[in-house]
Symmetry: C3
Subunit: 285 residues, 3 copies
Amino acid sequence: MTRYDTISFLSDFGHDDEFVGVVKSVLRSLAPHATVVDLSHGVPAFDVRAGSLALARSVQYLAPGVILAVVDPGVGTDRRAVAVEVAGGEGVFVGPDNGLLAGAVAMAGGAERAVALTNPEYQLVAPGATFAARDIFGPAAAHLANGVPLDELGEVVDTASLLPGVLPLTRREGETVVCEVLWVDRYGNAQLNLDPDELDLPSGHATLRFGGSMRRARRVGAYGDIPSGEVGLVVDSYGLYSISFDRAAAATMLGLTVGTEVIVEPGDAPAVSTPVTLRTDGSPR
Amino acid sequence: MTRYDTISFLSDFGHDDEFVGVVKSVLRSLAPHATVVDLSHGVPAFDVRAGSLALARSVQYLAPGVILAVVDPGVGTDRRAVAVEVAGGEGVFVGPDNGLLAGAVAMAGGAERAVALTNPEYQLVAPGATFAARDIFGPAAAHLANGVPLDELGEVVDTASLLPGVLPLTRREGETVVCEVLWVDRYGNAQLNLDPDELDLPSGHATLRFGGSMRRARRVGAYGDIPSGEVGLVVDSYGLYSISFDRAAAATMLGLTVGTEVIVEPGDAPAVSTPVTLRTDGSPR
Amino acid sequence: MTRYDTISFLSDFGHDDEFVGVVKSVLRSLAPHATVVDLSHGVPAFDVRAGSLALARSVQYLAPGVILAVVDPGVGTDRRAVAVEVAGGEGVFVGPDNGLLAGAVAMAGGAERAVALTNPEYQLVAPGATFAARDIFGPAAAHLANGVPLDELGEVVDTASLLPGVLPLTRREGETVVCEVLWVDRYGNAQLNLDPDELDLPSGHATLRFGGSMRRARRVGAYGDIPSGEVGLVVDSYGLYSISFDRAAAATMLGLTVGTEVIVEPGDAPAVSTPVTLRTDGSPR
């Protein structure tokens, strides 16, 4: 009785080693009928928060099935390995209970049932405890795809006990919103935790303050609409404001990284009619 | 009525973010029967020309089906999104009309029919217009694989109006040919836009001039036949001359990058019997 | 008569170029029923030994079928292209006869039959001899998956003539074992060619000497059990000791690279009660 035919797979394993390939070999051996969709394996090493955000950005687009997600610096310690069912069984998340799954699970409607992956019958025996994706998570995902009932994989745990994720909140200060860079993508776009429902920026300009600098940004609809040499504010494909340049890496050029605080103010700041740079440390840019 | 069971997929999305995985999730959701073959996602960001060359190098090896190709710095602007049918329907290219598809389409026999992807019924609704691979191109590819007729996806466009690609031409000057580095691959081989039909170099040596340097190169059949310390000229797997070293990155060591002009002359240059280096700027090498 | 439905694929092609995608397109065209599992394409360019180790680490987890492995600096020269059958036909390795396959073949029980891939009927015609994965190895893998008998692909070769792999041996000197870093993974763990059967380190500390330094390492069961600021010794998922930090790259911080000699001694060295660093060159750390 096959239950799922897609296993979506996200990790921080990178592509230099064979970690991804070995896990996929285990999936192929145990559940040959299932198709594996690699979501991303480029999550920065050990970065649970970045993996959690990538998973949350993806979740509404995933095919129904098992979602195997492994960013697991605590592998082999007493952090729990879990499987979490959502949406009446349309999806099951498999991974460490360290906050990685929390955002995506919430976006999928919340955890409905969960088990700790403690049943050794559904695990591989290994000489060391450092590769749970191969020995515990991968086999669990494959067995779920094969139709093994969730509660066969281990004891039921209270869904309220699952570790929550932590997302930075914005803060309104007068006309401005204090937000934070959530994600810098390959193109150097710096996504903020700010959406148009919270701060409407219909057209014209906004003023950005970060790292001692003040920059005027133009609100446009597409990266290619940003005039050369100007900073753009684009609502990206996830509905969040992104600080962008046309065909250049805004984050690199502006010194924005994940976690940088950015204060957004609608309109031009009183004294700012052209881009200026104020640095508290007096160094030139 | 399934029409295609393979979707070949090339992009400049890289592997750090989940862009590739999200598009493949969309393909999996809409056309679960189709197998996706990732051609490459390592095209340099925004580099339409590099993507076009990679696609052209690959096209004769692709399985029949849909070819989804996205290097799209103009996403969300008024550049057209298109689907282009070739070879009596054996293949359909889906991507932006920015020259990316042109070389491969020509190698596949030329565009026979084309549509602009304007029908919203075959697109995903999204809060921002920055991820057309997910919202427009990917769904179009999936629906084509499912058998949706080409002209359902949008209005027919004149194939003569599709943006052509631009490939650098060589130039003969006396005994020499002035060419250009088209591609530097992972191993540091520098492929030239020069093939043996244009300049026969049967054996022995040729003289290369570039960046103020002159180098003697040995014409050999395989990288491993290049003597240690010498520059080799190999006809590569695409039938073009490549400047190579044995087990070392010729491009890095010689300072060759995409676009470097290289003048090739058969035989040893009169005054050159051992590799010498002449630099116009007088700096040592 | 289909024989294999999985082709596992390892190479040093990287992900920047379309090499992997072209080979997979050839596999898809010739053997559309087969699923390709990418084991890794991140083997360092030209590094046969690293590829051999990655393949050996993976082999026990592979699905039955064809294993296509290409790290092939001698492509186009007279090194042989081979297919090697193991385990009563449960698996067939396809690749260059340069030592790449040797370790994995041995772990799979040893070569039972082998052929040189010399039959041009099962190869693609190409203008240059530099891409054997596309023109020779890939087609051979696909035809084997399709049920073509091994000895159709070329003449039988004596399995004893296949090039062996070379693995570094450890050396016991009194209480210590002289070993070597085999692999540095993405997380900076430095795997040694040393397992608990050779040197039991049940708990407490061991002393490591390398590159003129001496470091105390704590024997723990998981990376997350290594106290902050200490060096850990963990039995990794392959059963070998690994020098690790908690959530940090031990190899980078300790200056360990593949091939570094490490002398392991059980217990604290007499004069060492806290981590100290002795460098023969007198330079600070």
